[in-house]
Subunit: 327 residues, 2 copies
Amino acid sequence: MRILITGISGFVARHFVELLSGLPDHFIIAGIYNRNMPEFTENEFPNVCCRFHKMDLLNSGQLQELIASFRPAYILHLGSRSSVVYSWKHPAETIRQNTGIFTAIIESLRTLNLNCRLLSVGSAEEYGIVEESALPIVESLSPNPASPYGVSRVMQQNLAELYTKNYGLDIVHTRSFNHIGAYQSSDFVLSSFARQIIRQQQMGRQEIELSVGNIEVTRDFTDVRDVVKAYYLLLQKGKSGEVYNICSNKPVILKDLLRIFEAITGTRIHCVLDPNSFHPSENKQVFGSYAKIRKETGWTPLIPIESTLADLLNYWSAKLLVANCEQ
Amino acid sequence: MRILITGISGFVARHFVELLSGLPDHFIIAGIYNRNMPEFTENEFPNVCCRFHKMDLLNSGQLQELIASFRPAYILHLGSRSSVVYSWKHPAETIRQNTGIFTAIIESLRTLNLNCRLLSVGSAEEYGIVEESALPIVESLSPNPASPYGVSRVMQQNLAELYTKNYGLDIVHTRSFNHIGAYQSSDFVLSSFARQIIRQQQMGRQEIELSVGNIEVTRDFTDVRDVVKAYYLLLQKGKSGEVYNICSNKPVILKDLLRIFEAITGTRIHCVLDPNSFHPSENKQVFGSYAKIRKETGWTPLIPIESTLADLLNYWSAKLLVANCEQ
């Protein structure tokens, strides 16, 4: 089975390929990266045949050439600007890039007229500001995006629906809630926490000074290994033109996760507010319903948050240890 | 009062400047055009001081320079790809241009931090496919865009709201329904009909062969002279961050307008279906409510459709006569 993955250097792509490597089918992957090298080598997973291609996804001619020659059965589209914080600082660039990349992909598929399914990975940020009475969020809730990043994802979903209905493309769109795990950049909240804790612990501290944003908010976190299973199931069983939440349906207050970090590491955490980490507009509470994807694909999230956080700490432990040795 | 107008070469801009020329205030206009020259000269309306600037609105540096030096109190943003038909043929270009132009404007305003109100002209196409039970359409209806053009306008409205709420910009957004009048391009349905009728009449025919798309659909048409009054009122009295329908609230079936054309011109019209004029997806019936703008600004549409069509025919009569003489 031939799968094209955009954003192969991201942590989600790595976990997706790792998932494929454990399956009985034979997979051939073309992975597109741009600035950063992937987190793994082409030969890291021997059961999967992987080739990396360096390419700016805004270069629609080059992208179309690759799709035409590779002829994927599936495209997993992960290659976007995906930080809400970054989007507040660079709104126009976020809009331009995410929109330009997505139109390059769907225009390639329209032009080539391939029999290919696209998984369009979107975000819970499409919902934007949500009333408490609308929780848990279901897919039929009207989008009300509250960040430049969210606006770019709403555009993506609108285009996905339009191209499915009117140009006959086969696109399934996700609204993925926060997901976490090894290899995630420390630009994201829990990865940032884990990295700070491990770094200080490796310096011999048991009293951790943690730089945080607003930790009173309630969020919905899913282990990235569960998320990539959902992506694989949607590529196979999702309904074209439909939108699926991918989430845990379990609201957790960020603050409470600090207690789990303390318990695992045997540290005490003291929070220091970082004013740069606050967003101009933000929901106090977000969590979603995964009833639709469960009904249509059988997916449910399986990995408890405690295991996820333990694995995340182990990842940073190993990574920072190596970094220290290399110094 | 200093007003920057994007899309000064369009027919709406001409009518807007004509409206200003009849008002007691003193107006200084900077008008931006790109490919086409404006439909009028800088000195056509002596009461208004008008300067034209040739510029690609995607050139954000040049745009920002002009805004910085002109320091407008108001911006009327008309300069977009505005044909639904064109957007079906060139979806990516429509999305890229309309989004790029709008972000260039709002980023300029954000950077310059001017005390300037922007009227963001959007479209009824943002509503997309609408259930009959939702008619007449009110502004609180969720967007469900059904054309690439519609998707680009939803993005524009989302950005307008975002920049108002989070970056403190002063933006009012319209959802303008079909509007018609002299100087409108014959790419648009009623202007196309009027042009065809007059051309054949000037060739001596009383039996008109009219190339049409789907004329069974119901639409909401407003005279462009009423529309530009609404724009002027919204620049002065609209609420920042809000969205306003501009429409007639009077559904008319396209087919019925042919009877009015026949009565005015004394011709008989025979329709020939042009398969190129059908859109992939289309509402059977669209009309809007203007209760919100009436309540907040006092605006109501005043010109009856019969006068509008008569004036439109007169316009084409004069224009084609001149064209014939010039041959």
